[in-house]
Symmetry: none
C-alpha cells in the first residue's frame, strides 16, 4: 500500500487553500504554486486532485455553496421569520468574506465564460440562489396564507428583491465600509419589504 492519505481530506485542504488565494488575488492572478504552497504540498500534487485551475475553481465554488440557514424555525411567524431570514442571509455573507469576493470571479465566468464552464456554473448558480430564494418564498407564501401579507404580493418578486438588497448592500459595503451602516440598512430593508407586503396598496 502506498502512503496512507485520506484523499478526501487532502482534497479539502487544497480546496481551502485555493479558496483563500482565489479570494485574495482573484482567479487570474492566482498561481497554482501559491495554492500548493499554502496547502503545504507540491505543485504537482494539486494536479493529482484537480485536472486544471478551472476545475479547482469550480470545486472551490461548490464548496462555498453550502451555507444557507434552515428555514424551519422561521416559518411559523411570517413577520419575524422574514426578518430572521434576511439577517441570516446577510450574516452568511458577512461570515465568509472569501465567499463574497470569490463571487466576482464566479460571476465573471457566468457572464463571459466559455461553454463547457458557463453552463456548469449556471446550474451551480441556480442551486446557489435557489435555496435562499425558496426559503424566502416559503415565508411570504405562509404569510399570505395566514392573511398577514397581501394576496397581491408575488413571493418570487419579494425573494428577488430581498436577495438583491442584501447583495447590493454588501457590494457597496465591501467597496467602502465607511459609507454604509449595514445594520441600519438591513433594518430598513426588512421594514420596507414588510411594508410593501402589508400596505393597503393604493399608493398616493
Amino acid at each position: 500500500m502506498p502512503k496512507i492519505v485520506d484523499r478526501n481530506a487532502r482534497r479539502l485542504e487544497i480546496v481551502e487553500a485555493a479558496t483563500e488565494v482565489f479570494a485574495r488575488v482573484g482567479f487570474a492572478d492566482t498561481k497554482i504554486e501559491d495554492i500548493a504552497e499554502r496547502a503545504g504540498v507540491a505543485k504537482g500534487t494539486v494536479y493529482q486532485y484537480f485536472d486544471s485551475k478551472a476545475e479547482l475553481f469550480i470545486a472551490v465554488c461548490q464548496n462555498l455553496v453550502t451555507w444557507p440557514p434552515e428555514a424551519a424555525p422561521f416559518l411559523d411567524d411570517p413577520f419575524k421569520g422574514f426578518e430572521m431570514l434576511i439577517h441570516a442571509l446577510a450574516d452568511s455573507y458577512e461570515r465568509s468574506r472569501d465567499f463574497y469576493v470569490i463571487l466576482l470571479d464566479y460571476w465573471a465566468v457566468l457572464i463571459r465564460g466559455q461553454e463547457p464552464y458557463r453552463k456548469y456554473f449556471l446550474s451551480m448558480g441556480e442551486t446557489f440562489y435557489a435555496h435562499p430564494r425558496r426559503l424566502l418564498m416559503q415565508v411570504v407564501q405562509r404569510g399570505r396564507e395566514r392573511g398577514v401579507f397581501k394576496r397581491s404580493a408575488d413571493p418570487a418578486v419579494v425573494a428577488s428583491l430581498a436577495i438583491a438588497g442584501i447583495e447590493g448592500l454588501r457590494t457597496q459595503h465591501v467597496q467602502d465600509p465607511k459609507h454604509i451602516d449595514m445594520k441600519k440598512c438591513l433594518t430598513m430593508l426588512v421594514k420596507s419589504l414588510r411594508d410593501g407586503l402589508t400596505s393597503s396598496g393604493t399608493v398616493r
Copy 2:
C-alpha cells in the same frame, strides 16, 4: 497639427475599443492586441496613449462614469421624482451592458487591487456612486421637507438601499434573465421603499 486625427480623438477611439473588449472578455483575458485591432491601430500605438494595460483600464472606467441623469426635473415631486430616479438609474445599467460587466473587474481592483490602483479606483468609486446617491438623497430630503416622507427616514440609508436593489436585481438578471421579471421587481422596489418612507412607522 502634424496629423489629421488629433490625439484626443484617437485616444477616445482606443478607450472605446478597450471598453468593448474588456466588457466582452474581462480584464485578465483581454489582449492589448485585440484592443488595438478593434481600434484600427497597431499594438504599439496603444502604448503611445497609455502607459500600461492598467492605465487603459482606468481610462475606460473613468469614461464610463459619466452616465447619471440630471435630477432637476424630478425634484419637484418627491413621489414621482423618486420613482423616475430609480427607473432612470436602472435604465442606465440597462443601456450599457458593457458598463455593468466591466464593474466586475472594477470591483475586483477595488477589493484586491495593489495600492497604487486601489486607492485610485476607490476615489473613482466615490464619484461613481456619489452622484446617483446625491440625487436620491436630494429627493428624499425634499420629501421630508414637504412633509410627504417621514422625518425619521434617513436619506443616506434610502439611497443605499435603492442603489443596492437596482444592482442586486441586475446581478441576478445578468445571471439568468428568465428568473427575474425586471419590470415587476423595479415596481415593487419603488413601492416598498416609498411605503417605508411613508408608513406610520409602527411596525406590528
Copy 3:
C-alpha cells in the same frame, strides 16, 4: 514602420536552425529555446513565425522536400538514365544527413500521428516520394517503348524497388557505416534491377 526585417529570410533562418536541432536530437528532445538560440533570436520570436513546435517541424520537412534532380538529361538513354537517376537519388540522401535523420521523426508522425498532422504529413509524403518515383517510372517506360526493357516490366514496381533499395541501404549505412560498402551496393542495385528489366524472364 517597425524594425525592417525580411520576414521570409528570418523565417528561413529559423527553419534552418530547427532543421539542425531536430536532426541532432530528434523532435521530442528538441527545445524551442535551443532552436531560438541557434537562430540567434529569442524564444518568443519563434512563435511569431510558427504557431507551435509541430508547425515548425512541418515547415522543416517541407523545406527538406525540394531535392530531387531533374530527369530531363537522363531520359534519352534508358540504360544510362536509370543508373544516373539512382545515383542522383542516393546522392541527395548523402548530401543531407539532416534530411535522412529527420525522416525518422517524419515517419513517426506518419505512422502514429494524430489526425490533424497525420493527414498533412501523408500528403507531404506523396509529393515527397512522388517526384522521384515519377522520374524512375519515366525512364522505365521510355525503355519499354524503345524495346530495351521488357514489356512485362511494371514501371511502378521498379520505381518502388529502386527507392526501397536506396533507402534500405542508407538505413543500414547510417547505423554502421563499416558494414556497408555503399558504392558496391549501389552498383549491384543498378545492375540487378537492370537485369530484371532485360532478362528473358524465364527464370531457371
Copy 4:
C-alpha cells in the same frame, strides 16, 4: 517463493505491455503509467523491474530481436532457398507490426543516442541484422559453391541489398499501403537479385 508470480514472468508481462505501448505511441509519448496499466500493475512496480524508461526500452528491443527463421531448410536449394528466405524475412516484418514501428525509435537512439545507450544499441543492432544477413550470405555462398551463382557475386552485398529492399518496401508500405503492391514487389526483388546473381555479367 514468496509470491505466486515469479519475477521473470512478471518482468516479461511488463516488457510485452511496454512493447505494445511503445509501438503504438512511440517512446517519447509513452507514459510509464500507460505501460503499468496495460501490464495490470501499478506504476511503482515497473520501477522494481527496470531502473528507468530507457532501460525498459532496451529490454523491449532485446525481446524483439529473436525473430529470424532458421536457415537449415533453405540451404539445400540456393534458388528456392534464396526466395524462401526473403519471403520469410518479409513475413517476419509483416507478422509483427510492433516490431517495425519500434525500429523507428531504435534507430533514433542509434543515430542520436547519448553514449551509454548508443553503444549498447549498436551492438544490439549487430545481432539484430547479423542473423538474417548471415543466413542470406550462407545461401549465396552455397549457390556459388554449387556453381549456380556467379563467382563474382559478393554475398555481403547481396545480403545487404536483400535486407535493404525488404525494409525499404516496408517503409513505403507503412506510409501508404495503397501505393505499393507488396507481393509483386517482393517477387520482382527476388527475381532481380537472382538475375543479378546469374546473369552473364556483361551488361550492355
